[in-house]
């Protein structure tokens, strides 16, 4: 645990140092070719960002960029970075496991936020409750608040849906919202398994008027949900591009560019990072549906 605290400390210092130095309104547009373009990997949620960057900086068509960019999901991307199979990865923040994995190889990671992300809570449009405090959300998910009337809604049991264990969304919920608090048992349902049997699985969000669920803003905001679900205001703040960018929304995070701290200053990975953080790069990210960091 002590080692983990030290790593976090290093990470925070890196975050601060890099966000102060790597960015800038104007950055030289790197002259990339397919050959000298950094090896990229990342989470699924950052594929459009990587594709847009490649498309812009390598003058590729969207189709060509799709062929060129391959992301292997968050954990595999960290492994690839550590194993020197990738130069820069676009991912969610490193887990304790991933930090330990890097430390075991003597690698210090530099973690730089490149676009903002937020964790949003969804309820049915007909649910009269449109705001919850972060503490209330924690209490709901710990099973301490079980009825909507306790948070100003109707006398109805709250069905607090969760995501499957080990999924990216569930990890974010545990790390960013619950922060060590034990979550109540999730509603379960029987789902078909192999050989005609059934297995008990975490129940799907059903958008009934008693339901509450969660998602990441990037997906939830860009899909066709406006007439079906609404985002809960957390501590009175509605999640939108502005409140997320300005860190007013309380459950704000980011997608990060992660590279090795030893990466040389003039390496292609650093050049790409610098350009991504430039005003041009941030505009490009915004056009791809992300919330810019500034």
């Amino acid at each position: 645990m002590k080692m983990f605290r030290n790593l976090i400390a290093v990470l925070i210092v890196s975050l601060l140092a890099v966000s102060c130095s790597a960015g800038g309104d104007k950055a030289e547009r790197p002259a990339f070719t397919k050959e000298n373009y950094p090896r990229i990997d990342g989470s699924t949620a950052t594929i459009p960002l990587s594709e847009k960057l490649a498309s812009e900086l390598l003058s590729m068509s969207a189709e060509e960029a799709k062929e060129f960019i391959k992301h292997n999901t968050t954990h595999n991307a960290y492994e690839n970075l550590i194993e020197d199979k990738a130069d820069v990865i676009f991912v969610t923040e490193p887990s304790e496991d991933e930090l330990n994995m890097a430390a075991a190889k003597g690698i210090e990671l530099e973690v730089v936020p490149v676009v903002k992300e937020a964790f949003v809570f969804l309820v049915n449009k007909s649910n009269p409750v449109d705001r919850l405090s972060l503490e209330e959300i924690k209490d709901i998910y710990q099973g301490k608040i079980t009825n909507w009337k306790e948070v100003g809604g109707p006398d109805k049991e709250i069905i607090a849906y969760q995501r499957p264990d080990n999924s990216g969304s569930q990890t974010l919920m545990q790390n960013q919202v619950m922060k060590g608090l034990t979550m109540a048992k999730a509603p379960t349902e029987l789902k078909p398994a192999g050989m005609g049997g059934l297995i008990e699985a975490v129940a799907s969000y059903d958008n009934s008027d008693s339901a509450i669920g969660y998602s990441v803003y990037y997906y939830a905001n860009t899909m066709y949900l406006k007439d079906t679900v609404k985002f809960v205001k957390v501590d009175g703040v509605e999640p939108n591009n502005e409140t997320i960018m300005k860190d007013k929304y309380p459950v704000t995070s980011a997608y990060y560019a992660v590279l090795k701290k030893t990466e040389p200053e003039n390496s292609s990975a650093r050049k790409l990072l610098k350009w991504t953080l430039s005003s041009e790069g941030q505009k490009l990210a915004e056009a791809a549906g992300y919330v810019p960091v500034r």
């Binding site: 989470s43 699924t44 594929i47 969804l122 999924s167 029987l190 799907s204 939830a220």
Partner: protein
């Protein structure tokens, strides 16, 4: 007031004088609320299946069909021609796709298998939906399976005109069908955790259905196929299908009425009624699948929802619960294993089978079976309801008055079954039976032995069945 009445009369006269629209327009076929609809009519066409070639030949196998029995032979020929042409087109497409892929990898195409299959998804109320599947695979230089390519395609036809149907044609005029489908797909994505930062299904947020979106339809609902146009869906070697149940869109559909006029038969024959699915669902909420050293327990329980009659729903749900003593069985099996190690003790089974769940009819059975220490106990509880009339059905209720169903069944037993002796005394149990869309299974204890007989409606005559009249 007189002016208003005069205007109304004038409007009525004008509307009566208006030129009648041909079948296939909404003016002639006002959309009925779906909730009132229990059935549609199968088209009076014959589906003639054709099988050609062999899958391992260079040209591959083709399993397809042609239609016959339409009054307008031009439309019939057009559709038949199109089905054949499409099939050839698609089989070539998968084959070329495979060759192209291999060429990119500098590998040589060595033929292994090639086939195509064309089948009917929906064939009612003057609409025909057809699905195509084509497949090709190849071998490596040592003769081992190497790679494959496949594809799915769908076409829907208005049989009045032979015109191909688009997604919008399924919906009532003025309905924002794209919005309905996009919202449903988005919810489906959330429900299935496809919107995860590490999603294995989506490479970016859902971009909405596209123009010319691939889909097909059957009596259970609409199936949206996410194909190469929907490139945010990650392709796993087969496309993602998103099924929108009919109950989610029932009020918005026009496909049952838009192309159908009950006064105009465009076929040489009359099609039989086809019941539409009920809104009733049986949701399994308890499942036990337990193997022990000397015993096996399989309990599958659930409950009915949306029956629309609280009393029937309560009774049915009570009836469908397990009456088996699972804990006692476990203890007895455990004790037995101590006394007789390595010897099989027995098993418990409980399940509910639903056969008919359409047209306002519900038929099924609860099956319970215990085998303990060599002794078998079977408990079967049948349930048969006409929910249109909120009544429990006896076997005799399935037949129109005056029809001697027992005699008809006896004749069929004599014709189809070896134990013809049972026919002479045949008296089917009025409670212990179940029925489906095209057959009934009855129970008769003959000489103390249980006998189950199946009778198709074709043999009994659809005209003799209340559920079709």
């Amino acid at each position: 007031m007189r002016r208003i009445i005069a205007s109304l009369i004038l409007m009525l006269l004008l509307s009566g004088c208006a030129v009648a629209e041909p079948a296939g327009t909404e003016q002639n076929n006002p959309d009925l609320p779906f909730k009132e609809r229990q059935f549609v009519y199968e088209n009076g066409i014959t589906i003639n299946t054709v099988e050609e070639g062999s899958y391992d030949s260079e040209t591959g196998s083709r399993y397809y069909f042609s239609i016959s029995g339409m009054k307008d032979k031009e439309i019939e020929n057009k559709i038949n021609e199109e089905i054949k042409q499409n099939m050839e087109l698609y089989i070539n497409e998968v084959s070329n796709d495979l060759i192209e892929r291999l060429e990119k990898k500098n590998e040589v195409f060595r033929h292994n298998s090639m086939s195509s299959n064309v089948s009917v998804n929906y064939n009612c109320n003057n609409v025909l939906f057809v699905s195509y599947f084509a497949y090709a695979s190849c071998l490596d230089e040592n003769g081992y399976y190497m790679d494959e390519s496949n594809g799915y395609w769908y076409s829907g036809y208005d049989l009045n005109t032979g015109k191909k149907l688009e997604l919008k044609d399924l919906f009532r005029n003025g309905v924002d069908y794209k919005k309905i489908i996009n919202e449903y797909v988005s919810m489906y994505i959330i429900k299935n955790n496809m919107d995860d930062p590490n999603s294995h299904y989506l490479s970016r947020p859902f971009q909405g259905i596209r123009d010319g979106q691939t889909f097909y339809f059957d009596t259970s609902g609409i199936y949206i196929m996410m194909d190469e146009k929907n490139d945010e869906f990650i392709y796993f070697g087969y496309p993602t299908f998103i099924y929108i149940p009919i109950r989610e869109i029932e009020g918005e559909l026009a496909v049952f009425d838009r192309f159908y006029d009950e006064n105009i038969n465009i076929f040489e024959n009359t099609g039989v009624k086809k019941h539409l699915p009920n809104r009733i669902a049986y949701v399994r909420d308890n499942f036990l699948d337990e193997y022990n050293d000397n015993s096996y327990i399989m309990i599958s329980e659930g409950k009915f929802t949306n029956i629309g009659n609280g009393e029937i729903e309560r009774k049915l749900n009570e009836m469908c619960r397990s009456t088996l003593d699972v804990d006692g069985f476990r203890e007895r099996a455990k004790a037995f294993s101590v006394e007789h190690p390595g010897t099989y003790y027995g098993e418990l089974h409980h399940d509910v089978h639903i056969f008919m769940n359409a047209g306002g009819y519900l038929s099924g059975r609860v099956y319970e079976n215990s085998v303990e220490n060599g002794e078998t106990n079977e408990n079967i509880r049948n349930f048969n309801y006409d929910l249109n009339k909120n009544m429990k059905l006896k076997l005799e209720d399935l037949f129109v008055e005056g029809f001697d169903y027992k005699e008809a069944m006896r004749d069929i037993i004599r014709r189809d079954y070896m134990y013809t002796g049972a026919a002479d005394t045949y008296e089917p149990d009025q409670e212990r039976f179940y029925f489906y869309e095209d057959f009934i299974e009855t129970y008769y204890a003959y000489n103390g032995e249980p006998y189950h007989f199946i009778f198709t409606y074709k043999d009994l005559g659809y005209e003799n069945l209340t559920i079709y009249n």
